[in-house]
Symmetry: C2
Subunit: 425 residues, 2 copies
């Protein structure tokens, strides 16, 4: 086992620049929602090179779309498949899912980017581009770990199921589809950008939309209308108060280092279509965090009650109730014990390589781990390279050394978890 570890780690250390080039290719195929296919093709090509048994399919079917956890406003998955590569073990070991998502969020304001958002430019050990951190860097760590094990001739006892899924950023329909297709395992690792922390508990989250009515009028007689923007400001204030209230209840020590454990993020507002008119509709869209031990339903109710409260205090909103919708994305929370054997195996691997203890926290964001955990019954640890704050930001980048180091830690963890038949050939 020690010999196998040595070979595998040496392989990773000797193939860093190829891994960086591979990550560059994956980032350059910008895979925003609905355009995942070309990046997915690069991943699939690599899996085929490694000799994995590939299962490639487009999402669909009533079992998926009627499932209570299905959540997507996308009506067309054609041409943008999920991809799963299986490395069958010889038997007698524990199976492991390695899950990464290929979809990336939009680039935002293009002017805020120093380099072209899908450049994949490498400078001072950092690789830049939308998706580099969230989470193509982590996916490359997974593939580099598997490549090292395979190329070193190490034979695993347990099955490894590598998954490259779509739709993580929009509600997890990709991972839900893998579960319904039958992919389950004794454990799972999701290398989202945790900055090498372990997240055995993951926050859930869901998207909301609040529609606020005003009354149109000419801007020059704006006192004859009711500004939907002014009414939206009342709602924004109430949302911040609700966030404070909900977070004051969080006592789990895994959240102790997180400034806002379960944030409510207002990500979008739009109102009005003419500078000289009083706007009559405002739409607010955002993302509500859900505690690992909280039900989605409870969180929804708290939001709806808060909006009802603010409406009850304003004469106009009392007569024109804002409407709360839950739409698009929804991620279930995930929750395994800190004492779970998967955490132990990862901690051992981490400690051997980093010569330090890992930080174990609750995740500040939701992942597909909630679906694997709550629907698939799979124990999940989220652990990967990349700094959380770069995800979704302009000038997103990843430190390449973190990608290589996580590959080593995960490679060793795979061997420990699945068991090995030999020390490599």
């Amino acid at each position: 086992m020690e010999e196998a570890q040595r070979k595998v780690r040496a392989y990773i250390q000797g193939n860093q620049s190829d891994a960086a080039k591979f990550l560059q290719r994956v980032v350059q195929e910008g895979s925003v929602r609905g355009k995942e296919s070309s990046a997915q093709a690069v991943i699939i090509e690599k899996c085929r090179e490694l000799g994995m048994n590939m299962d490639i399919w487009e999402l669909g079917g009533e079992e998926l779309t009627n499932h209570p956890a299905f959540c997507s406003d996308r009506n067309n998955f054609v041409g943008n498949p999920n991809a799963v590569g299986v490395l069958p073990g010889t038997g007698g070991g524990r199976s492991l899912i390695l899950n990464g998502h290929i979809d990336v969020v939009p680039v935002g304001d293009i002017d805020s980017w120093e380099y072209e958002p899908f450049s994949g430019k490498i400078e001072n050990g950092r690789l830049y581009g939308r998706g580099s951190t969230d989470m193509k860097g982590g996916t490359v760590s997974l593939l580099l770990a598997l490549e090292a094990i395979i190329k070193s001739g190490v034979t695993l006892k347990g099955d490894v199921i590598f998954q490259s899924v779509i739709e993580e950023e929009s509600g997890g329909a990709g991972t839900l589809s893998t579960v319904l297709r039958g992919y389950k395992a004794d454990g799972a690792i999701i290398p989202e950008p945790t900055n090498l922390k372990f997240f055995p508990k993951q926050q859930g989250s869901m998207w909301f939309r609040i529609k606020i009515r005003g009354k149109q009028a000419h801007g020059g007689t704006r006192y004859e209308g009711v500004s939907a923007i002014e009414k939206a400001e009342l709602i924004l204030k109430e949302i911040r108060e609700l966030e404070i209230k909900r977070n004051s209840r969080i006592t789990d020590p895994l959240f102790s280092e997180i400034p806002i454990p379960i944030p409510i993020n207002v990500g979008k507002i739009s109102s009005g279509d003419w500078p000289s008119s009083v706007p009559d509709i405002a739409l607010i869209e955002g993302r509500m965090g859900v505690a690992p031990d909280e039900s989605m339903e409870n969180a929804k109710q708290e939001m709806e009650q808060a909006i009802e409260k603010v409406a009850s205090l304003d004469p106009w909103l009392k007569e024109n109730q804002p409407v709360v919708e839950w739409f698009g994305a929804r991620w279930l929370p995930g929750d395994i014990e800190v004492e779970h054997d998967l955490v132990t195996v990862l901690t051992e691997s981490f400690t051997e390589i980093k010569r330090a203890r890992p930080v174990i926290e609750a995740s500040p964001w939701a992942t597909d781990g909630g679906i694997l955990n709550k629907i698939g019954g799979v124990p999940v640890v989220v652990f990967g390279p990349g700094v959380t704050k770069m995800a979704h930001d302009a000038n997103e980048y990843i430190e390449l050394n973190d990608v290589y180091e996580v590959a080593e830690i995960i490679a060793v963890a795979i061997m420990k978890w699945c068991g090995t038949e030999n020390d490599g050939t």
Copy 2:
């Protein structure tokens, strides 16, 4: 003269239902910006029927676009002309411009409309539709007045210049083009919806856009970003305070009945493109009122200083100054004495027909009167049918009786102002 008046007024009273049908046709040709041609065609057809000398042209040329008062972000006027019809007098009388705009503002939220926005539906003496009040009703009053004079065989001494212009809602390039083309006169009436009040002073206004920067981050770690929406809320608050400050200075008695004499209307906000991201850009667009005796430059400076002030108090905005732009529409204020002879003539006409004194106020909004007045040197009174608060609102409508009554008042005023050769034939 009394006989001429009797005939002309009788004509208007006898042709009300044809006038209503004509207004219906004009409203049904919804003429939002860039699509003014078909409504304009209906107007032109009517002018030709009345035997006016028509001048129809598309806006353009350097004299227009380089003019300091030119203000438009529109780069294509092809196919959507201005139209002017001249009714030459026999000489020795005063000339009069009758100016109406054909463009209408967007319909806003379609669900707020009881009838289809361009239905032109008539019910209980009201005609419904976008543009009915602002200001196709007034334009029909003008044409009905002219038709009555012409069909009654009354010959005028002074020239009447009827103008149906584009771009009033977006900065007045249409009326500016008439001035530069040489159309000037001893007086002008603009039948915007004043609810039959006289507005010898008109508020100016201009559009602003404020760009506010935030810092993108994942919504789950929103504390690592800076929400452009939250920073925009500070700006919105400051704009309301500036509005209060500016209005507290207005002492002109013509404004005494107006709740907010020179409003600052925020008509639009947009920020963010993803519910789970912290938004990094917010755009606010609005319309700032300018007092009749105030310079546009002074108003601009006050806004810019207010935004600088709020930025100086916020550490993030201090480093990331919001940017104020003045774009798109700009309307100059207009200002003639209450004692001007045009006001007197209109007052006499009004009193004869309504058996009551008119209300004389300052306008709560800007009109093309500012350009006619400040650039063309033409004394302007704004006076027309329709209720201000219906302009730009959903379910916009006009009381048809007001259209007919204004036609009578304006017809009599035309005869008094221009002088008549005969009593009709």
